[in-house]
């Protein structure tokens, strides 16, 4: 026993405070346990853990405890491998041992039945902790740790609140109920487990639980953002990441503004008749398919008027545009040859209605001023195209 405790001391020097605390209590707890332990307690402890795999090594009292110590050592050695869980894995053990210590003390004061129940609970916890060590998956550990802690908090609250016998009876029920819950957790660990349990040192009331859920949501979304925003991987703090995100959004918006300026500069030089020509062709093909035919017709005439208006107002630039039309047809039609897609989309129809009402008014006003509207309405499509050219040449 002394050699085992010495080993624990060695490990405690190497590991963190949680384990040292745990070791001290372990000594106390185990010391107390050893006094009352019989070899019969081991298998009886095993009986309750129907869902859990019984350890084959838990046969004798003394060897039990050695192996328990070794299992804790194993757990502590696995801690550095998994970054997320070390405090939580250590913590429940510490808490478990503290709980055990208290319960052992209380069991001594109470009857033999109480003693048995406390040992059973201890055996439960060792089983659970060993399962924790064996599973070696982050999520499962977290959940089981949380389960452990919730159990412990339940049990602690129970022990504090009522008398020892009553608490012992409650604890036995709690222990078996917790095994049920643990089995459920182990059965369905992959189902998205939103139900959060209390952790070590944190309150169990609904407010803090909801807050923790909210914080987890936020951190999850920050992770998504981290993937999107370049250069966010190096920064770890939430505030720093938010800074990066804000800078990135602002830079993207500035880029869009710059590009829109560029497009606005390029736009008046171009005559979009070719696109209209393409649109007309596709429109003729698609009119039968599109239900809102009259609206499309109206929209279509808008197009023609728009280009005409632009042509009229930018007439000086348009003088050069005739020879451009051929080039435009070849260049623009090739990559952007899906004007029919937006003719089909209902969203765009809505936008068309939104934007074209005032366009229409402007166009009609200018057209009536110039007195050319009637002639343009009556002409067929190819004729309109020719009319554009004629007008340009003027």
């Amino acid at each position: 026993m002394n050699s085992g405790l010495l080993e624990m001391l060695h490990y405690s020097q190497n590991n963190e405070m949680g384990i040292t605390y745990f070791n001290e209590n372990e000594q106390f707890g185990l010391g107390g346990a050893f006094m009352a332990l019989n070899s019969d307690q081991g298998p009886s402890g095993l009986l309750l853990n129907g869902a859990m795999k019984p350890e084959p090594c838990l046969e004798n009292g003394w060897s039990d405890d050695f192996r328990r110590i070794l299992s804790y050592e194993n757990v502590s050695s696995t801690i550095p491998r998994t970054l997320s869980c070390p405090p939580d894995v250590e913590a429940p053990m510490a808490e478990a041992v503290v709980g055990k210590g208290k319960e052992v003390v209380s069991s001594f004061s109470s009857s033999a039945t109480g003693r048995e129940s406390s040992k059973k609970r201890k055996a439960d916890k060792t089983q659970h902790l060993k399962v924790v060590a064996e599973e070696k998956t982050e999520e499962k550990k977290m959940k089981v740790c949380e389960e452990e802690e919730s159990k412990i908090t339940e049990q602690n609250s129970n022990t504090k609140s009522t008398t020892t016998t009553a608490t012992n009876s409650k604890n036995t029920k709690g222990g078996s109920a917790n095994t049920k819950e643990n089995s459920k957790v182990s059965e369905a660990p992959k189902a998205d487990y939103i139900h959060v349990r209390a952790r070590r040192g944190q309150a169990t009331d609904s407010h803090s639980l909801a807050e923790r859920v909210r914080r987890e949501k936020i951190s999850e979304r920050m992770k998504f953002l981290q993937d999107l925003v370049p250069g966010c991987n190096k920064i770890t703090g939430k505030a720093g990441m938010l800074d990066e995100i804000i800078n990135y959004v602002q830079s993207l918006q500035r880029q869009v503004e710059f590009l829109s300026m560029k497009l606005a500069a390029i736009n008046p030089r171009l005559d979009f008749d070719d696109d209209n020509y393409l649109v007309k062709e596709d429109f003729l093909a698609c009119t039968s398919n599109i239900p809102p035919a009259p609206s499309e017709m109206v929209n279509h005439t808008h197009l023609q008027f728009n280009t005409l208006v632009q042509g009229v107002q930018g007439s000086s630039l348009n003088m050069v545009e005739n020879p451009m039309e051929g080039m435009l047809r070849r260049t623009i039609s090739a990559p952007i040859s899906i004007p029919h897609t937006f003719l089909d989309s209902s969203n765009l129809n809505q936008i068309q209605h939104l934007t074209w009402e005032d366009e229409l008014q402007n166009i009609y006003s200018t057209e009536y001023q110039q007195g050319r509207s009637t002639s343009f309405i009556s002409q067929p499509f190819s004729g309109l195209f020719e009319a554009n050219q004629v007008k340009m040449e003027m």
């Binding site: 109920a177 998205d192 804000i246 606005a264 390029i266 451009m324 937006f342």
Partner: protein, 217 residues
Amino acid sequence: MMSSLLSPNPAVNSDRSSTRRKKKKKIQNQAENLENNSAIQWKSDAQQQIYSSKLLYALQQVRLSSGSSGAQASASKRVRDAAYRVLAATAKGRSRWSRAILTNRLKLKFMKKNNIAKRQRNVMTVIATGNSRVQKKAKVNVLRLKSKCLPAFQRKARVLSRLVPGCRKQPLPVVLEEATDYIAALEMQVRAMSALAELLSVSASSSNGSAMDISPS
């Protein structure tokens, strides 16, 4: 034995919790779908093509006349507004910012008149009282107080919520979700617009060159 005694209680609890879990799962799945799919969706070429074709179509509608409405700056502003509108339309209203952009234009049209009247009223009051600085000072003080009182993280969250359209009063997790979609959409928009600008500039330059050749003859 113990298990049989205690099975009904956990079963009942599990039923209730499972239904709750299912509801939460649905909501979470929807949210996750939006998050998971948004970046992938905006990265696809099809989306970019749809956007660029819609943008071209919309650009034709933009009034580029510089006579009535002023200098070239306003033209670029109109182009930018058109670009954002088309982006919101391409989003098909699945995200909050897209809906906000689409509804803002209508709001602006209706509220233009109201805003002009308000501004006139403000101007009149300022002239009457002669305190143009008072209002500004009060505003500045309030803003400074607000910025000092809030922790840095909250301040930045507010800034981000102001940046993303339609998310001014939303809680932080919603803002973050909208921001992921918005960033993906903005990236796509920048790619599409730069490609379009390049294409148009190339065509314009080539056609100008050809026009130069043709015109003397």
